[in-house]
Every structure is written in structure tokens, then in C-alpha cells.
Symmetry: C2
Subunit: 338 residues, 2 copies
Amino acid sequence: MKVTISDVAKLAGVSTATVSHTINNTRYVSSETKDKVFAAIAQLGYTPDASARSFRTGKKKTIGFIVPDISNKFFATMIESVETYLSGKGYHLIVANTKEDIVREETNIRLLTAGLVDGLLLASTMDNFQQLDALIPPGFPVVLVDRVFDVKKYASVCVSNFQPIYRSVCRLVGKGDRRIGIIGGLPRLSTTKERISAYQQAIVDCGLPPEETFIRYGDSMENSACGCLDDLMEQGCDAVIVTNGLMASEAITYLHRRGVHLSKDIDLVSFVDYESDFYELYANQIDSIIQPVDALGSAAGEEILKRVENPDTPIFEKVLTSTYKPYDQPRSWNHSDR
Amino acid sequence: MKVTISDVAKLAGVSTATVSHTINNTRYVSSETKDKVFAAIAQLGYTPDASARSFRTGKKKTIGFIVPDISNKFFATMIESVETYLSGKGYHLIVANTKEDIVREETNIRLLTAGLVDGLLLASTMDNFQQLDALIPPGFPVVLVDRVFDVKKYASVCVSNFQPIYRSVCRLVGKGDRRIGIIGGLPRLSTTKERISAYQQAIVDCGLPPEETFIRYGDSMENSACGCLDDLMEQGCDAVIVTNGLMASEAITYLHRRGVHLSKDIDLVSFVDYESDFYELYANQIDSIIQPVDALGSAAGEEILKRVENPDTPIFEKVLTSTYKPYDQPRSWNHSDR
DNA sequence: GTGAAAGCGCTAACAC
DNA sequence: GTGTTAGCGCTTTCAC
């Protein structure tokens, strides 16, 4: 049978209040009493019931994290770092995976916010902010991660998308490339939009003719990059920018199989997932944009806990910067590049 | 303010019992009453509080899954498939990541079983069964996943490890290789032990001299394979078996960088993570052992729910089989190979 | 066909 | 320094 706090109290010869306070260090208890309580706990093998506790306090000590694709190393690594951060603070993490499916996301938001978690980290696959907003109970702590919205109602933690893509284009142009294509993720995502618009602006700024057909969109998941790549190569692109690590691996694999040589036959720039094997293998043949995944994760953890513990924390966007790693540092100026 | 079941009852002009039964379809309610209740629910925007509910019923509708390494695609994919299975049955999944750390595993087992989840899926990094067993509350539903123990106290879902490794050795020998090395994962894991012993037995059966130094162990995580590989190559191995997909990617990358050609300079056999890019890229140069990850995941989900819903379900081991994919099908017999 | 009411195990006033 | 006790929101017996 389940052993409860009153069993402990009875055996220790004290009240349940004392047992509770002893366990939680929440008011003074004399050391003799403490000893008795702990002895009773040990003897009975008592473990406080987490659901009774969270029911009573309203605190679950759990954060939900809704990710679009757990098998994408970018998110897997982030989950890892969020979890490490949270568990250091005594919190748990519930992960839900939407596979970039809006309906799955809706379901999960509803379920998680209905008393399962204290706060929500959300890398949303939605594009309609109203739709999202309607699902969040008023006042519920939410931090958007990686993907944001125009309406700045929720705090967010993300990575600057504009600068590295802009720079990519400039470098490619400087290298002599004139037909520069780009493969984006799902068009509805803020990350995709930002990256594409950085590309467009850079193309114009560099004096190249804008070609709508050089912009191709994948689905941000596996097995969507090759078609785009085919398409761009058919159009005679001499350089391609890939805006997501998963699609980049695919692109590299595909080019390799087709016997296309990186940086000789075609220039590639890509977001890469740090420490992934592909990064190691091709780091010297492509420009890499390395996102600070671990930092993103802990920042996300930090922000959501702030808001769980103090709901009045002001809204703001935290923007981290990626590292741009040119594959072949050109003769450099005397001063730093960044 | 929070809207509760009695607010709904009041507005609908019925009792809380009726509201509860209406929501849960748990006894007959006339359709007029139902209508009133649903109208009130809609009007107030009522959502039943999950923690009150699970406190009351003792059911959390949540399963915990403790994995050793979430950034390993094998486990990431499995999480995905477990979650898909569970959410179809109205259950949630809490994932905890141990990074192959026994202490983190202990902490997580304790936390999850203390009222957070109804059942536990466990891909344990422990080797001492007693230590594990002591952490599980008596009667708590547990299913071991991928990694098992000699003592068959808990149900398990895993993949046959012996046969594919044994076959690997035989094929390599048939190809003419005589110095066959193997890189295992953490030595304490059942998967590693089974694979190594399959290797040893096959070596002996094929009449090769057993060489202890041809057996090397990584840590089942990233960045541990290269050292082992170096070592084996220094010893003049002409073939290497890698027993885990993550380490295989590394091995391939590393060989590539060192300019060693697969299947020419060295033969490689490896567990690969299906659909990973490396698989695509090198499938035609190495023998691959493909584990049925999705099937593992749904089997794990199925088994744990069975046990959550009926604690008396008999213990048994479910063993799935991997697909062995020779890289270069030799002229084959008329009948099937398997 | 529906209501009243007793708790589930715990925490936290409030009281002494 | 410790005890008493009122609920948290829900489900579910028992009663009508």
C-alpha cells in the first residue's frame, strides 16, 4: 500500500505539518524532531507523491518543449542543453514533437498547458500568430525558441538569421559566383523568411539581377533538399546557400553521389550542426554558419524559468549570433574581421 | 481566475458529478443536460485541470522514457516513434537524457517514478541489475528498451545483436579478411557484450586466431571511435566492425579524411541509422546492419501501456531482428538468403 | 437520470 | 518549535 505523509507523521510521533516542513526545509524544525522524521521516512520507504504535491501547490516543476523535429540534430542538441539547464534548477522537461505539423502542435499546446507544465518553450511551426495565441491560456509563461512572430507578445530566444546569410552572398560574389541559389526551409517560418530576405537584399546590394527561380523551399525536414538542388543546378547555379543543417547534409551527400565537387564545381554555404560528422568532413570545403545551439538551449531554459517564477518579467527578444566560418580564409587584413 | 468544474456546474444548473460524467462519458446523461453542460463549458472556456485529475485518479497518462543519448539518431528516432504511438493512445511522453551517466540515470528514475509517470521505458546505462532494481518501486511498470539484464525481472524490447555480428564476421572472412577488428560501445552494456561475444564466437568458428587486441571499446557516444580505429589500423586490421551508428559515422568520416578507401583499403561493417545521410552515402561501400528503430519504438510503447493498464501482464522479452544489408550482393543462390 | 459529498496526499495559514 | 485543519479540483460511491 502507498505510504503517505500521515503514516510518517504517526510513526515519528509528530504532525503532518512537521513532516512536510522537514522535507521541504520550509520552517524551523529542531534537529531531534528532524531525526525522528527522517528515521520514519527511511523505515517506511516514504516518497512524497509528486502529483499530490503539484496539485496542491499548483507548481509542476516541469517545463514543456514543443519541437518541430526531434530527429534534427539542431533540436536534439537543444533539447539536451535545455534539459541540462532545467534539471540543474530542479525542473523536468516534457518534449513533444510536431514533425512540422500545425495540428500536432495545436494538440500539444492544449495538452501541455492544461495543467501538465508550468511553462512552455515553443519552436513553433505555425505562421498565424492569432491561431497560436488563441491556444495559450492568458498569463501562461511561454518562450518562443528559434522561430518568432511579428507580434511581440511573447519572449523569445533566437539566432540572428540575417547577417550570416547576407555575408554568405557577399563572399560568394567576391569569389566570382554570379548565379547564386538558395534553399530555404518551410516558407511560413520566420527563420526562412529572414534568411530569404537577407539573401534577396544582398543580391540586390551586390548588383546581381534578382532571380525568383533561384529561391527554392524545402520542408525543413529530411529528404527535401535534393529536388531543390537538382532544380538550381539545372538552372546553372554556381553557388548554393542551404539554410538548415539537416538539408545541408543531404545536399552534400547528394552532390557527392552525383560526382559534383564542392568548391570546385559548385560553391556551398550552409548552416551546419556543430560537431556533427558532416561538419567535420566538409568544413574545409564549404563556408559554415554555426549556430550557438547550447547557448540557445540554456538561454531558453533561463528565460522560461524567469517567467515561471515571476510572471511579470518583461517581454523581450534575446538574439544570439551565429559564428561564420569561411572555409578558406582569404588573405586577411591586419585587424579583425568581425 | 481559474475556472473549475463547479463553476461549470453552477452555470449549467447541474451538479459537478454530472459535469464530470458528461466530460468523461462515464455514465448516461440526457442530451438536454449534455447540451447545457457543453454550452457552459464553452462559455467559460473551461479546461479540466490535468493535475487535479491525475491526483484524484492516480493516473497521469504519461510515460517516462530514459534514454542514454538523445542526440544519437538511433534514440532520437525511437523517441519519435514511441511518442507517436503513445499520443495515439492518449498518453504523453517525458524524456530524460542520461548521457550514459549512471548517476543521472538514478536521479531520473527516482524522479519519474515518484508520481510523475504511469510507467517507465528505460534504455539503461547501468550494468548492475540490483542497483537498478532497488530504484524501482515494487510493482511499478517498467519496460527495458534495447539494453537488458541477465535477471529477467522486467519486460524488454530489444534487437537481436548476435546474429548480424556473427554474420558480419563470416562474410568478412569469406571475402578474405583475416585481421578483423571490432569497435564496441561501453563494455558494461548488454548490447556491447552480446555483440562482442558474437564476434568472438564467429572468429573462433571461422578458424581465425582470437586476438584480444582487436577488440576496442568506445563510449557509445560521439568522439570515441577514432582512437579505436587508429589502434586497429596500426595493428594492421583489414576489416573493422563498428557496433553503433554514431560511432560508424565517425569512423567513416575519419577514414575518409585519412584517405583510406572503404572496401578497397579496409572493409567496414556497421550498424547504421536508417535514413541517416551517412547510410545513403556509403551504403554501397559497407555492409550495413539496419535496426528496426520504428518498430522498436512502437513495440516499446505497446508493451509499457499493456503493463500500465494491466499490471499483471506476464514478463517477456520481445526481440526484433535487424536487417542485414550486404554492400555488394555476391552472386546469389536461387533461394532467398534469409 | 441526477445530486451530495467524501476524500485523493499534500501544503500552508493560523493558532498556541 | 510544533500541531490543527482547511482546502486544491476532481472523480466516484451511494442515494434517490
